[in-house]
């Protein structure tokens, strides 16, 4: 039980690549510290570009929201991403010897484009729910990975990363996002939302996004 809500539990159980994503070799390497430094820095640089597009997707969520509460929730996320996470990311990279110019000169990898554009396109072509289903594997998957690693033994090497995603603050974000998803589903499809064909169609979007997350980790191992 992740505590991120019942819709997530169901989509997650139906996504064939969920374990391939959350228990990827890259993740194992973060845990035991065996991930080469080179790969981690390469991942950080790609993740900077990723966060830009991810923020754009949450901006789109504001445009696609139906209620003030949905808008405020999406806005809080995009604000945290653009005004805190991006700055934090720049700091971490600086500490790792990647200056801002290097960061901004990073060439976006195909696996990065694949995932971010999939999310944005799902949102543009579909509605608020489609967008949330595409965003969920990233937000909640990182939460699940972080929580699992934080509660197991782990090496010091990447403990900052584990501390961030396994920490209370990020876990709270995951709970709120899970709640946003639950409420959005109920608002549109009713309390029995799992019975709607829409629910399994959204699950397919979730599953595809999960597959593309596997590709992102694969890329991480291939600097």
């Amino acid at each position: 039980m992740t505590g991120y809500g019942s819709a997530f539990e169901k989509w997650r159980a139906a996504a064939p690549d969920w374990n391939a994503y959350t228990r990827h070799a890259f993740v194992a390497g973060l845990q035991d510290g065996s991930l080469p430094r080179d790969a981690f820095l390469h991942y950080l640089k790609q993740d900077y570009i990723f966060l830009m597009h991810f923020s754009r997707a949450w901006g789109l969520a504001i445009a696609k929201a139906a209620t003030l509460a949905e808008m405020q929730s999406a806005c809080a996320t995009v604000h945290a991403l653009l005004h805190h996470e991006m700055a934090l990311h720049t700091e971490i990279c600086a500490a790792a010897g990647i200056d801002k110019d290097t960061l901004e000169a990073t060439v976006e990898r195909a696996e990065n484009m694949a995932y971010t554009r999939f999310v944005l396109e799902a949102g543009y072509s579909g509605d608020f729910l489609d967008l949330l289903a595409a965003l969920a594997p990233c937000v909640l998957g990182y939460g699940e990975i972080g929580a699992r690693l934080a509660s197991s033994g782990y090496s010091d090497t990447y403990s900052d990363w584990i501390g961030t995603y396994g920490g209370d603050e990020y876990q709270e974000v995951c709970k709120e996002t899970g709640q946003l998803i639950e409420n959005a589903l109920r608002h549109r499809l009713g309390a029995e939302y799992t019975l709607s064909p829409r629910f399994s169609q959204l699950g397919e979007t979730f599953a595809k996004a999960t597959t593309l997350e596997v590709g992102f980790w694969d890329m991480g191992l291939d600097p």
Copy 2:
């Protein structure tokens, strides 16, 4: 019973302005021939601009479709609009003394922008169903008006207009559009689609588009 499907019947019954739209003074003027020529020509010019945006909305429907059948249906409509209706419209206008340059120099009226942008925005912000719900009052409302006028007594003055929308070809388009809506609802919300909150939310979009259609007729009477 219009024969345009059960979803339409329900949305129509719940739209406060449905009669204000389909039994508007402009429509009565088309029927008994009392509509001033001036108003009709003004309407035709605005309708030319309307058809451009309406075609764009059906183009968007192709992008938002989930199945090949949905895509082909939307494509057939946009093809008919752009390669036949627009040409027909230009001919009718020419016969009425409005040449192509005049037609293209027409300044779009606020009521025209209001309706067309509402439809497109509903489609962009929502999904395929939201777009169809916004398009339905126009496609099917014209069908209902045309059928009613064609089966009542009417003046010769605007018999071409009545013949077009009351005729077999356009009635067939309405039946197909009604079927497209039914199938799209079932595909996403299941056979019991009327029980989903989504269905009444779509009905609100339908009702707002209907209100904006009233504004379009109002504009027609105000050259």
Copy 3:
């Protein structure tokens, strides 16, 4: 000279309805206090719905931005709208005897839909520049109106409204938005952006949005 930038100055000079908008009877009524209370409260209620869609449009701007600076600028605006302006608006309405339920039960008027959907649709169908050109008449027009009224004599009756839009804080927002527009134009069309056909096409979008602002004031006078 408004101080909101050179692109705004040019678009404004080319918009036929700019004076009809900024010197509307509704505005004159705010200045001399002759605007009926009834009309003002009606305007406030519609403006609440307007702000929701306006926030959605700025959310879309985040999705359509090309640089981190553009994203942060749009995000700051949407955050201020959703977390401060909306709350402020609710307070003003409460003070005027309109409780939250009444506010949320407000039926959106056609003129309101017309303007907000036009802005959103311009953004969806076009790019970041198209969206900014559609947003500008509202943001900067209110700034111009506020500044003019604040620097002239005015009645106490609506001095809060005048103080808000004529005040330093809102004037600063206008200067920043003007700068965002200038930078966005230069980034895409170069320093000589006024020579690009795009610039006058954007001016047409600005002019249409201005016309729809006139409709919004008209609605304000018709509770």
Copy 4:
């Protein structure tokens, strides 16, 4: 000289992966017949899904067009894709022993998602030009490959494929698409469009789409 227009020539020359795409091992295997049958059938199945999303992108182009001519051009393409190409594709697959059910049960590969979603997202987030720049590498790249192979010696094995893309009909489509791009650029950026920063920004979109085309061929070789 491809004859597909000057904008294409320039974007093509600036895309680092253009040769990696048009002279890919998959293409060489089509020419000399060494491409394993297995890989070709796998490619055909993925291409069926690709064509669905590609048609959606051309549908979006109708929504994003600014003139009737642009709309009609985009509509002709999507109509040809949905009512002729898809049927043709189904026939070719049937002849190759892939029935319709198998075709529709194909699981979309990540490389396929990557390219198609990139194109759609570029179109949604940008304007008509951004969409065309993302679509161009596919439409015109296949034309260039087809023309080169058709004018060189080639094996009988995949002569149907070469005949299709190297044939007069498809070459005519490429010339028209090239003209659509030229006209769209001139309409928005003027005759000196290459001097606008927009032109090189569009070239970056073209280059990224080209890189994702390389991924599509890579996938073709990995059934």
